[in-house]
Amino acid sequence: MRLLRSRFTLCIFILLFAHKGTAFPFSPIVRSSLGEAFLVLKNNPSTPILLEENQTIDATLPYSAVTPVDSYLEIESPSSETFSGFSLRLGQSSGIEIRKPTSFYIFKGTFLVADKSTRQWMFESNSSVIQINGSGTFMIETTPLGFKLIILEGLYSLPESQMTNSSLTSGDLILISGPSAKVSQSMQVELPLILNSSRLVNYFPNKLSTHSRLISAAQVQALRMKSKYNAFIGGVSEDRQLRIWKVPSSEKGDK
């Protein structure tokens, strides 16, 4: 009897633990697959599965999504009565391991998350880690030292241990570098230009669920604009230098 009771308790514990591991249901749908995108299962990495549009991914986490050159992928965690869905877009030459629905290991590339609910997101790579909490649309790009994070709309926060003024809003760009996740000072980047030039935003046939919010954030930034710098931000070099490209002055208010 005592043995039965202890086995029953163990079963309950395992069930509870398993439930805690996946906080909400996650059976994403492939919303767009432009070019060729693949699913790589953890237990069978040598056989990638070609992803097709409207396919439901029922595989057990963790698994990876990979896009080669000139290929793009959008997966969507659909909304239900009790759960507000979100979208994850992968740019070309990108690879990401989805460990939990909102926890990822990034191998390389560019990613966009569009989410109307407040959630905590975790991204890790071989060089750095970032955890952000909030609601909105953001893009992440890997750099040799960590990540570049751009908030397109919404409000996010980082742990106070990482950033003094931990609040990030529409148009903010920060760099996260090193295993200790050192966060740079945030700077504002021109949202209308990003929305026009970002393939993660406008290369896909369908609009993001947060499209109207992206437009309103860009409109407000345009109305609040003081000046624009004659420069574009590039990547980060391996010797920790942020590459900034100077461009000729052409518009009023340019610096």
Binding site: I194, S198, V201, L223, K226, Y229, F232, K252
Partner: protein, 327 residues
């Protein structure tokens, strides 16, 4: 911020003062108070404050290789408070400045119109899916007639003060809703600047902006009720008015061609009268600098009224200059 030199401010002040002094020497007689020629100019002045920066398409540069797009550092204001100061001076010929159907008063004259616009943007707020921009506008327009002795002798010259408070809700698809409250008061340049006419106008407008390439277009449908007080007899001109305006802004080189058409329907509360009005405007501006423009324009205005002898057609053609500064 556009740089406005001391000399340009002095120039604006001198012209305003000169136009007021000149207007004081003139005299006039009755005119159509419910014909408001400055409506489109006020709309344009408001748009000048809200007009977004042109977004350039993807540029062929190595930094454009990234799928996240071009990242240009910018400096932004915290709340988005803004101010637009505009001055325009127009001189034009009108074949029917009194807006009458026919008869003795259908005479032609020249009109010198000077206006100063102040628009204050009280912030730009992101409502996540839409934006809200409250605006306060104050403008003063002076109308002075010349070139016709009989018109000059009558008390036709006047100044019009306009106060407007509007809240503009803009949506991502180019639509915007604009509730507003406006107050207009016309003063005679003679008779100790006595008030000739005033109207208080709560209104609601629905607008759609869209662009094809570099061409911007707008359509604006408004509903307004005008509570009036005029020398003709108190609230005699109280009216409900609905108007549909459609216009284009076509830039080429340093020029901008902006045609528009406006159709309005007015139903008078205290008289048995319904008016159908229409305006067709052709406006060509040449931007000398970012803050100074020259323009030539022509406007055809017409009204068909259910009441006898209230129809009119007039054509105004002229030239002008404008100074604009945004802070």
């Amino acid at each position: 911020m556009k740089k406005v030199t001391f000399s340009s401010i002095l120039f604006v002040t001198l012209i305003v003062v000169q136009s007021m002094l000149w207007a004081k020497t003139n005299e006039g007689f009755s005119r159509q108070y419910d014909y408001r020629p400055e409506t489109i100019d006020q709309y344009k002045a408001r748009q000048a404050l809200l007009r977004k920066s042109n977004i350039k398409k993807n540029q062929a540069h190595e930094i454009a290789k990234s799928d996240v797009g071009l990242q240009r550092p910018v400096e932004t204001k915290k709340k988005g408070l803004g101010y637009h100061l505009g001055f325009s001076s127009k001189i034009y010929y009108s074949n029917n400045p009194l807006s009458t159907e026919s008869g003795l008063y259908k005479i032609s004259a020249g009109i010198w119109e000077n206006s100063i616009h102040n628009n204050f943007l009280l912030g730009a707020y992101d409502l996540r899916g839409s934006t809200f921009s409250p605006l306060i506008g104050i403008s003063y327009t002076s109308f002075s007639h010349f070139g016709n002795e009989s018109i000059r002798k009558q008390n036709m010259d006047f100044g019009s003060l306009n106060l407007n408070f509007a809240g503009i809700f803009s949506f991502g698809n180019g639509w915007s809703v604009r509730p507003s409250l406006g107050y207009t008061s016309d003063f005679s340049h003679k008779s100790n600047s006595s008030q000739l006419y005033s109207q208080l106008s709560p209104s609601l407008a629905l607008s759609k902006n869209f662009s094809i390439g570099k061409i911007n277009s707008f359509a604006d449908w408004s509903l307004a009720y005008n509570f009036t007080d005029s020398e003709l007899g108190g609230d005699f001109l109280d009216r409900f008015e609905t108007a549909l305006t459609w216009g284009l802004f076509i830039p080429f080189s340093n020029f901008e061609f902006s045609p528009y058409v406006r159709v309005s329907l007015s139903d008078y509360s205290n008289q048995s009268k319904t008016d159908l009005g229409a305006n067709l405007g052709l406006d060509l501006s040449y931007n000398i600098t970012e803050w100074m423009a020259l323009r030539i324009y022509s406007t055809l205005s017409t009204r068909r009224s259910s009441k006898e002898n209230m129809d009119f057609t007039r054509v105004d053609t002229g030239t002008g200059a404008s100074l604009n500064a945004r802070f």
